[in-house]
Symmetry: C2
Subunit: 328 residues, 2 copies
């Protein structure tokens, strides 16, 4: 039984989720064409030849994650546990399989492929935001050197019934800046960085790729749309998609050429679901003060948090019991 | 040249600090008795026999860290960089060498030793808080399995000119709770957990050790003083110190008995420096709403952040330059 638990001293959320069964080891990849029956039924796919769902013929295919962190079947609603808060992990965890080729990497994906992936990001965001129980969605793309369990290229969509901790911090900070300046902080950053040039990696008609002023790790990079918009899924145009695809291709090729071919994680930050019930005044100025963008950071090998939501596979009650017993 | 830089979109601080020279490798430990000349001059030591500073005869010895993250020589003052903020990393980084024995581990330190270490924590906090340029101090104790560079047991004191991001989040959350309830959230947690028992590891006259409701990782544990106080260095009494020493000894022996003898980090959270200039009303209710405590969490092997301040050893300008050059 999973719980989404709120820590009352820091305000962060933790997904407490007892470790599930590991999927059986298998020599062949469940994401390759011909193995469609080994995933849950597909949610949607781009198929150019009118091929049937759950068979070959797709170029991008979306499936629910097996043993998902969040899923739609669960009930909605906050529950108090004494002074604590918990929420059932209602939401969705989907995998966007980026192509039929098993060994494709972000550095070798061509622009047409990236464009398709970006349109699928848009489609999934639009569809999931129809559910008012979903408050926030992040799309992440991890790259690990060959050797990890599944190397077939995919992005992960995680839709949750709370605001991601990391997003909430941005929203609060952006709103404070906006209330003081009446300008979007990201727009001001773009203006300053483009003029300054020192931290700019690449400037294109629609985007700027830069290393942020307070980068948390070497080679952290942000891709910011030069035109203000709070939501990726509303703002993507064919021109912008082509421009972004070329930028992603170039950036990932660059990363792959760095010493050690570093692992990384790309996160798409877009506005929370404005169709969800919000607290009064909660994000009233979100359209003006938030600015969708991508962040690409070197990533640890083990997934222990998503957007600031920590994932803990040992329930605290069980940990305490084991520690009490081990004390003697 | 190090900078402490603030990210305007999340509000976090990053210490940008070009990688220093690694200390020369050496077969013998600079923290062992007889090697005192290999550290910077000691700040203070407990010496029972009146032995001279920087020679043997000590039981606990405090030295500045070589190549410190923060140091007192630097100038004070915030500087704007366009819309960004930076602060010189004025402060202190000190190592509390916990005993002359090279191979001592937290699991094998006896209660008398822990008591001495706790009193030294208090002494350093009291002394450093005399400097109004220091706003916040964390003391951390990392344990790694044998094989890391320096195994001699020590704690690290990090005093900084800003509020640690992790502490700031606690202060904000605690104040919100207090403003609503007129009670300390930690006091309420203690009351609920002691009654509930399920997550309690150990209850002593002065403390409760528990696994927090929203533990971020397996075996995360908090040690909370049952008597409300915001600052460790004001609250420590001989009775409490003896009680806490016994609790730490038992807990670390328990951790060492877990499968794999896990690495961990202990952090002492105490109120920020109330002698520092605070913004009006900033932490006006801190004595009522903050509650000092210890948190013990499994730790990653590489130190990349302290109290939420990330440490980045590649300046963003240099990273951008390298990425621009590698783009082609």
């Amino acid at each position: 039984m999973s719980d989404l638990r709120k820590d009352p001293t820091r305000g962060h959320w933790v997904l407490v989720r007892p470790a599930g069964e590991a999927p059986p080891a298998s020599g062949d990849c469940p994401f390759c064409p011909g193995s469609e029956s080994r995933t849950p039924p597909e949610i949607v796919a781009y198929r150019k030849d009118g091929s049937a769902p759950d068979g070959p013929g797709w170029s991008v295919r979306v499936v629910p994650e097996i043993d998902p962190y969040f899923s739609v079947e669960r009930e909605v609603g906050r529950v108090g546990v004494g002074l604590y808060d918990k929420v059932p992990p209602r939401g969705a965890t989907e995998l966007i399989i980026e192509g039929p080729e098993h060994d494709l990497t972000p550095a070798r994906m061509d622009e047409a492929r990236w464009e398709q992936v970006l349109w699928m990001y848009r489609d999934r965001l639009r569809d999931l935001k129809k559910d008012p129980a979903i408050r926030d969605i992040l799309i992440t793309r991890r790259y690990k050197k060959p050797g990890s369990r599944i190397t077939h290229p995919y992005s992960r969509v995680v839709a949750v019934p709370v605001i991601f901790d990391d997003v909430r911090r941005q929203l609060i900070q952006c709103r404070e800046y906006y209330e003081y300046k009446r300008r979007c902080v990201f727009c001001d950053i773009i203006r300053q960085e483009v003029a300054d040039e020192e931290r700019v990696i690449r400037l294109t008609p629609h985007f700027v790729a830069l290393v942020p002023y307070a980068a948390r790790s070497p080679y952290e990079a942000w891709i910011l749309p030069r035109q203000h918009a709070c939501a990726f899924e509303q703002a993507l145009t064919p021109d912008a998609a082509a421009d972004l695809a070329a930028l992603l291709r170039g950036h990932f090729r660059t990363l792959a050429s760095l010493p050690g071919d570093p692992s990384f994680e790309m996160v798409l930050y877009t506005a929370p679901n404005q169709a969800a019930k919000l607290l009064p005044g909660e994000w009233s100025s979100i359209a003006e003060d938030f600015h969708w963008h991508l962040e690409i950071t070197p990533s640890p090998d083990r997934l222990s948090q998503i957007g600031g939501i920590h994932v803990n596979d040992l329930p605290p009650e069980e940990a305490a019991r084991r520690l009490r017993e081990a004390w003697a």
